[in-house]
């Protein structure tokens, strides 16, 4: 037997080698055969709901909204009732009073609305004296800023919370100028003097730098409620005017980014439930700003059951603000085509360039709203401020354990806390809402939008970096699982997204980190996957072949290439194993290709060449519409050999407005209409020749 074994030994070795090598070679290509799914969907989703579409004019839309809001028993809708001099549903206030009295997180949302109710009542006198007395006690006992004494569980320093708190303090002070506020011991006038500069500081930052929580479909709702309160009730005329100008700017943002009823764009902060739907019976939640965008511009639609939207109620009950007609005109004009570039925020390292240091309380009040709390340059000052005002670290860092871990790492490495935070910048800087250059390209059939080359490889919180939209629900975006807020499909590790018109190349990778950080990721159960949201239920037809997945919604088409193999999850996600992947997205339509079959065959015939780099990829893709597209992890995106502008952008750059970043004057022009917003002189001028 031994001799036999010896005789065949060489042959066995050769056979084993021959078997192993081909089996390894065959691993990467998982999908070869074509697969197809077809759905019967309504052409118009409005059939699914009782809704009003646009084009009935601002005042008419406002009235429609007031009627439906008046029928709502929600807390925010009570302002509408007071505005209309109807009796309020006092029961709806009780839980809000508790929330405010207990100083729970987001109590500021409620007190800003309560203050609107109280101000409106000064005109309508709809509230009874007992209720007003109760409300007054609640307002006088509230904690309006972290510098005041008293325990609380309120996050006050994100961009939206900050304006809510400042607005609440200003309006409360104005409402009771001579009363003593029981928590602070200050009187109303003191609160006005404290809050007014802070309100104007916040407004000026937004004018100069835009919104760090860029295109937020959830927090703009809160911003707008506060800003509209300022427009209506701020006694300082300049403040009121500048607040109105900010509403104009947000309306301009909606005009440039809304597509087929949704805020179909990249978001600095959003949530899974706003982006992900599993079927026609479980749709994604509407954007929180959907109703106010509809009232302002007529974009999207009105849902009669959405009468309790905080921002929409604020607008509908506002007599001092109305949008200049130019904004609705632009929204209408751009329905079929728009190419829009916009910049928001600044990088941490650029602080001194714009006059911000990293140490003083004022400096931190610029950085904290950008979620820059634990980044290297500010961490020591952040901890100092927390100590000074006895702020609960759990509110600042979500979990105090994070600070302990950072301190432990500093001791372990024998370096300062600031150095360790810089070393771990993937997490500490990743959550910071730094400079973002957003790009939106729209045709009648589709919209592609994204944050160009934004914080690639860093870990996020609630960002949705890019999105392709064929309609309200047929949307495609990707995410790399992770992030500190617990969202599964947004806010993960950020890709290098590079977009040009109807083509996008999105690469996921991240630098290897300290094993301490990797351990934290493991404890937080971050999955080692990238994922594309591709809801099969929302498309009339989905075809999969090779590494491409194609979707058709009516006459609009999308193609998504994934370098790594994908598996369907719940029929809505294409999941790829590993943290590194490259996606290519191309959008098309019946106008470009004649048919969906032609679209798929054209894309399948193109050349895609993806090569691994130590970080990211080198990608060459011959787009049927744009020609040769080349991108790597670091260099420019080239289309037909010419570099694409990935930023830094101007504050606004489109057919209607060009404004340099860090300037205070926005001029929007369309046809014979001009809107000039001068934040320096607090003048808002609309002219129509």
């Amino acid at each position: 037997m031994k001799i036999e074994l010896k005789k065949h030994f060489k042959a066995l070795i050769i056979v084993a080698v021959l078997l192993i090598i081909p089996s390894i070679v065959s691993i990467p290509s998982k999908i070869n055969q074509s697969r197809r799914w077809v759905n019967n969907l309504p052409d118009n989703y409005n059939l699914l709901r009782n809704s009003y579409n646009a084009s009935i004019g601002y005042d008419a839309r406002k009235n429609v909204y007031l009627i439906d809001s008046n029928n709502s028993n929600g807390f925010y809708a009570q302002s509408t009732r007071v505005y209309l001099n109807e009796s309020v549903n006092e029961a709806s206030f009780l839980s809000s009073f508790d929330k405010i009295n207990n100083r729970e997180d987001t109590a500021d949302f409620r007190i800003v609305s309560l203050l609107r109710t109280m101000y409106l009542d000064n005109v309508s006198h709809a509230l009874n004296s007992t209720f007003k007395s109760q409300a007054k006690d609640v307002i006088l006992d509230f904690k309006y800023w972290f510098t005041e004494p008293g325990e609380d569980d309120m996050i006050m320093w994100t961009e939206n919370h900050m304006i809510l708190f400042h607005t609440a303090e200003l309006l409360a002070g104005q409402l009771y100028p001579n009363e003593t506020f029981t928590n602070s011991g200050m009187n109303g006038t003191d609160h006005i003097n404290h809050a007014l500069p802070l309100v104007n500081r916040w407004i000026n930052w937004r004018a100069r730098f835009g919104f760090a929580e860029w295109h937020s479909n959830i927090y703009f709702n809160q911003d707008l409620m506060a800003i509209l309160n300022l427009v209506e009730f701020a006694q300082d005329n300049d403040t009121s005017t500048k607040a109105a100008m900010l509403v104009d700017i947000l309306a301009f943002d909606f005009a440039n980014n809304f597509f087929k009823g949704t805020y179909a764009t990249t978001h600095g902060r959003t949530e899974d439930n706003k982006k992900v739907g599993t079927s026609l019976l479980d749709l994604p939640s509407r954007d929180s700003i959907a109703e106010i965008a509809w009232i302002l511009l007529g974009v999207g639609y009105h849902d009669p059951n959405s009468g309790d939207s905080s921002s929409a109620v604020a607008l509908a009950t506002s007599d001092r603000y109305s949008p200049p007609p130019i904004l609705e005109a632009i929204a209408n004009y751009t329905l079929d085509y728009n190419e829009h570039k916009e910049r928001g925020s600044i990088d941490i390292e650029d602080g001194p360039t714009y006059g911000f240091g990293y140490t003083s309380e004022d400096d931190l009040m610029f950085w904290w709203p950008m979620s820059t709390l634990a980044a290297g340059p500010v961490i020591e000052s952040t901890l100092g401020l927390i100590d000074t005002y006895d702020i609960d670290p759990n509110l600042v860092f979500e979990d105090e354990l994070l600070v302990d871990l950072l301190k432990f790492a500093a001791d372990l490495y024998g370096i300062s806390l600031s150095e360790v935070c810089t070393f771990l910048k993937e997490a500490t800087q990743g959550v910071a809402l730094e400079e973002v250059n957003t790009y939106t390209y729209r045709t009648p059939y589709y919209q592609l939008s994204g944050a160009q080359d934004h914080q690639k490889g860093l870990m996020g919180m609630q960002e949705n970096i890019w999105q392709a939209s064929l309609d309200e629900y047929a949307t495609v975006f990707t995410n790399s699982h992770g992030g500190f807020t617990g969202e599964d499909h947004v806010g993960g590790f950020k890709p290098r997204a590079t977009l040009y018109k109807n083509v996008g190349v999105i690469q996921y990778d991240r630098l290897s980190q300290s094993l301490i950080l990797e351990l934290v990721y493991a404890i937080l159960e971050f999955k080692d996957i990238t994922q594309a949201y591709f809801p099969r239920w929302a498309f009339n037809e989905v075809v999969q072949q090779d590494k491409w997945t194609f979707g058709r919604r009516l006459d609009s088409y999308v193609a998504l290439y994934s370098y790594e193999g994908t598996e369907w999850e719940e029929d809505i996600f294409l999941t790829s194993q590993g943290k590194k992947n490259a996606y290519i997205v191309e959008l098309g339509s019946v106008d470009d290709y004649g048919s969906f079959t032609n679209f798929t065959s054209s894309i399948l015939a193109t050349r895609v060449d993806v090569k691994h780099l130590p970080v990211g990829y080198s990608i060459e893709y011959v787009s049927p519409t744009q020609g040769l597209v080349t991108v790597t992890w670091d260099g420019p995106m080239n289309v037909k050999g010419a570099p694409v502008d990935l930023g830094s952008y101007a504050r606004f750059d489109n057919d209607f407005c060009y404004q340099d970043f860090n300037t205070l004057k926005t001029t929007i022009q369309y046809g014979r209409m001009t809107l000039e917003l001068d934040f320096e002189n607090a003048t808002r001028t609309y002219t129509e020749i």
């Binding site: 030994f9 372990l412 691994h612 130590p614 970080v615």
Partner: protein, 270 residues
Amino acid sequence: MVLIGLETTRFGVGIGRVNANIYFGSIIFVLMAISGMLVPLVLKYTHKEGKNRRFDYIKTVSIICASFFGVAFGLAIYYTIIYNLETLSLFLLAFLGIIWFLSIYYGKNWKYKGILGNIIMSLAFLFGLIYGASLNNTLIPAIIYLFFGAAFLLQISKDLINDCKYIERDNREGYQSFANTIGEEKAQKLSLILDLVVILFLIIPIFPEFPNIIGQTLYTILIIITIIFIGIAALLTFRMNSERKYYRIVKLLLRCGMFLIFTAFILANF
């Protein structure tokens, strides 16, 4: 070893590349290490060549060694192509293959095949450090060379002490260990010199701002303990003068030193 090499050089490299390096690099290294560890077996038993006619031990082991190398090298080529790697790691593997081949081909009858076997055994084990580093980056940092040098020389030193310990047994069996060839006293002295060089290699990264080392505090603490261990071993070796009573404790100290070195280097870039 390959994991420590990857760990030390991972900063600045994407997690996708590092993960792939971990999977592919580990497999390739294990195959290559097995291949390398078979070489000393060939060298050690060449004196028995031809005694057993029913089973040609040397030839069989050589074929297995070549097979493992072939599979490792083939896999490395595949990995290099698919993941678009630099070819440095392939050259390193090829270099090792050449050493394996030359050692088997010419080393069988070499006078110093004992130390050659020790060197190849250490190389097969520790080569993973440099190989792992080469997968991440073509510019292999000094810390890797120092770590490799320290661990490699300490392993040789330990092997020398081991050879000295078993010098009589090897004599009886006709195995020509290095201690046998140069004499026990010279082997002890050589071991002592190697211990001192190892200490020097370990001290260098303690200097402030030494590149590619982030946990310098931890590293320093552990390395001081390591140096004490190796220092005592060196002292005992110095005092032995062919006495055999300290071999066991010296070997144990060097083994502990080796373990501490690994721990220190892992924690240096934790």
